[in-house]
Symmetry: C2
Subunit: 192 residues, 2 copies
């Protein structure tokens, strides 16, 4: 074993590409977020990290609501655009057809294959650049054409992933196997 140390870096591979939305001073604003993951089931909960100076963060903290939108690969250019330019410079409310759900003030992007409507449960300040926002998914929205047997299907939605520090986007590739199944008959060898 000959491992190099890389420091206290944000190295999970790969990360999902999402667009987080919030209402800021009465208008929808959006930011691109890959520092995000599911952290609970029943109810579904998410946690993500984002610079507390971002306009969208301010809207989330003010309203205690936000949305997560999963773009398809053909929305990657606009997702990257949203990640580059601040809502203080461009009016992001004009970029998308927006809809609202149960919470009333979590703006969701109609053209994204999947939308999660969330309420904040926790905002953690832990000394880094980012605010850690934890939320409960109160409802999720998906068009029938992206579902297979009632579940969202990545082969229909075509989401993208992001890799840190080389800053690249990739597609999802070939199917490898069924979870909670392909390991059933695995026979461990004694460790060396």
């Amino acid at each position: 074993m000959n491992k190099k140390t890389l420091g206290n870096k944000s190295l999970i591979y790969p990360m999902p590409v999402t667009i987080v939305g919030a209402e800021v001073e009465g208008k929808p604003n959006f930011m691109t977020i890959a520092f995000i993951g599911i952290v609970n089931i029943n109810p579904g909960m998410v946690a993500f990290g984002s610079n507390r100076k971002h306009l969208t963060n301010k809207g989330i903290v003010a309203n205690q609501t936000f949305s997560i939108n999963i773009p398809s690969q053909d929305q990657l250019e606009i997702a990257d655009y949203i990640g580059i330019y601040s809502g203080t410079k461009i009016d992001k409310s004009r970029l998308f057809e927006v809809f609202y759900g149960k919470l009333g003030n979590a703006p969701m992007i109609a053209s994204c294959p999947l939308n999660l409507e969330c309420r904040v449960t926790d905002v953690l300040e832990r000394g880094g650049i980012d605010q850690i926002i934890v939320g409960e998914i109160v409802e999720s929205y998906c068009e029938e054409k992206f579902l297979t047997e009632g579940n969202p299907d990545v082969e229909k939605m075509n989401p993208a992933v992001f890799t840190m520090y080389d800053n690249r986007y990739f597609a999802i590739g070939k199917y490898l196997g069924k979870a909670w199944s392909m390991g059933k008959d695995f026979k461990p060898k004694k460790k060396p």
Copy 2:
């Protein structure tokens, strides 16, 4: 727009396949976790969710340390095996060559391309099935052969992703573009 509602489900696509490790009663134990994401930079921090009844959770809470190991696709069968069978049934300490780092009691898997050594900052109990564990990455470990210009390279590590509720594993696919770059020249149309 004709969206169906899917409820308060854990629907982020895709999720990274990781193996979380902890010392349980003096021996390494491991569980497979896809409910995980980076939530902070400088320092790197992660959040994940896992059933509080899991043996590994008990070790994490007792020691306040854990590891995240990113398996390659050719370790997917053993990763799934670890996810199916509890450490109360099989001795997972014998499955891998294990190494330790700065914290001394966060067992890491030598054969996984990337290892993150973490200390717990928060354990949130929010009423779901899972405990939400937030941690700081104190060090990361990677072999030179998986790096490109000093950064972990998914095309060399070959990690896998997981999709929820259809329970499938996929490879990472084709390169789509550079982040903080491909959106620079995007020209928005006025919204419809």
